[in-house]
Symmetry: C2
């Protein structure tokens, strides 16, 4: 049974009645399951996590846009998190019995429908984007809502769908497909922020590190330690264990040890199984050997 | 929903018609699911793996005894694997939503019923046994079927249930409860058998190693390497990762590296998650963070 995850980020995190209405629009959509939603007042942003099949998720996203466009006016929006649209980002993520390519197709269909129905310009991103200049969310979002009209007038920034000027109150939307993302933090037994920043720079793609890693070094003031805060954007290709070991080794260089690590939110089982395979040098292991998979009659002969 | 695993070992591995009849007796039992069965002609022994609830498993075990006792005569049995009974060992294993203690109770009930119905003497073992002399399967089985009459006449070897002399053709049965067992082999990049034997001795309980480890060193002749062949008898208390790291460190002492490892048969998901937790120094991780658990609406707030 195909399971796709969809994680819309919307530009409202303060007015609870608005957030409730947005979440409700998802709840009301048949065959879609709401897994989680969280709001951040400082960011003035909310993240909704839902799962379902392709058709139901598209319906849910359209319902979300309908609810959002009548309630969110970006001209009056202020918050710490950069944003381009009332409904800012909508990634589709393959979870079970579905491929990344199928999610790309869903992203494109959804983008076309959003543009046609709401007259909101849409940019495809990540694996749904064929343009390397417009793959990375940060690159597309740069300039934010306020800079959008000017940006859209420049060559190379015609949206993939919809009008060639911003929606007056909803801006633009960024829709795409990606592998499950793992939010992973590694805490170091030191208060030296420069160490965390250097290690983050060493492991992240943008400054020469692993291909599917985003990272930054931050200070955890209350605890008096530092953290390498990481997004693993493709745990199959750049696995957790390899990144952990690299951080550990880099820290040694500074005489610093790894205190602990933490996974923020959800992690796919395969990422943990893959970690165990690395740690134990397991050969010829298949998920079919996991007892609980056999109990559920799940056939997982291909190694994840 | 309570899931218990039961793994009867029977003394027949050559006559396929007999094995078929034994497996069929399980298949015919309502509410029991046959997960696996495998036979070894050299050992002249078969292992059947099934899951179900307590009452159904007891019914299945009784059906198995009925089918086995009319077909297996130990006076005519020869094979490489030591055996005490036609149905030799019957462990009950907690898998989901059931405790080890509940499996102990089930083992005792089943043992009482087997003894009463078939006049087969039964010894409890592992966690179902309160007698330290009669906990370990090897200790109970020592002397095998041929030495059973003499053994049963000695003090301290009165069976827990049933007659005080062996069943003439079926011997005795050993029934108990234990944690899931993980059959785990670590292959070393050397052909020095003494190294594998020394490492096995270092890590196993019987010669001073970890409490819940059985191990032996063996030669894999075709591959020209050696193997530390391990049974992890309580992966929660003596986890995989710790044993792997100990073997790796011991091997270093001899200038030998770990080539690979392999899990034989099934492994509980929690053992792999626990391995990942160790390998990544994960703090505050709960199985509720595993995406697939959330999709199934499984609530796993307690850390496994």
């Amino acid at each position: 049974m195909a399971v796709i995850e969809c994680v819309p980020n919307v530009s409202e995190g303060r007015r609870t009645d608005v957030v409730d209405a947005l979440v409700e629009s998802i709840r009301r959509t048949a065959s879609v399951r709401l897994l989680d939603h969280s709001s951040d007042a400082t960011h003035n942003r909310s993240v909704i996590t839902m799962v379902g099949d392709a058709a139901s998720l598209k319906a849910a996203v359209l319902a979300l846009f309908e609810a959002a466009l009548s309630r969110i006016d970006l001209r009056a929006h202020a918050g710490e998190h950069p944003r381009l649209g009332a409904v800012d980002v909508v990634p589709f993520v393959p979870i079970e019995d579905v491929t990344l390519q199928e999610c790309v197709a869903l992203a494109k269909e959804t983008a076309a429908d959003v543009a046609a129905r709401f007259q909101v310009p849409v940019y495809l991103y990540e694996d749904a984007s064929e343009n390397p200049q417009r793959k990375n969310l940060e690159d597309i979002r740069r300039g934010e809502f306020e800079g959008l009209a000017a940006k859209m007038a420049t060559p190379g920034w015609t949206p993939d769908y919809g009008p060639t000027s911003p929606h007056p109150t909803a801006g633009a939307a960024v829709i795409g497909a990606r592998m499950p993302l793992i939010a992973y933090n590694i805490n170091l037994a030191t208060d030296r922020l420069d160490v965390a920043k250097k290690i983050a720079a060493a492991i992240r793609f943008s400054s020469g590190g692993f291909r599917y890693v985003k990272a930054m070094g931050i200070l955890l003031e209350e605890r008096g330690i530092v953290q390498v805060s990481i997004n693993l954007t493709n745990y199959e290709k750049t696995p957790m264990f390899r990144v952990f070991e690299a951080v550990k080794r880099e820290a040694e260089r500074y005489g610093v040890s790894v205190l602990e690590s933490e996974i923020v939110g959800l992690v796919p089982a395969a990422a943990l199984v893959g970690t165990a395979e690395h740690a134990l040098q397991l050969a010829a292991f298949t998920p079919n050997q996991i007892l609980e998979n056999r109990l559920r009659g799940v056939d997982r002969t291909s190694s994840v």
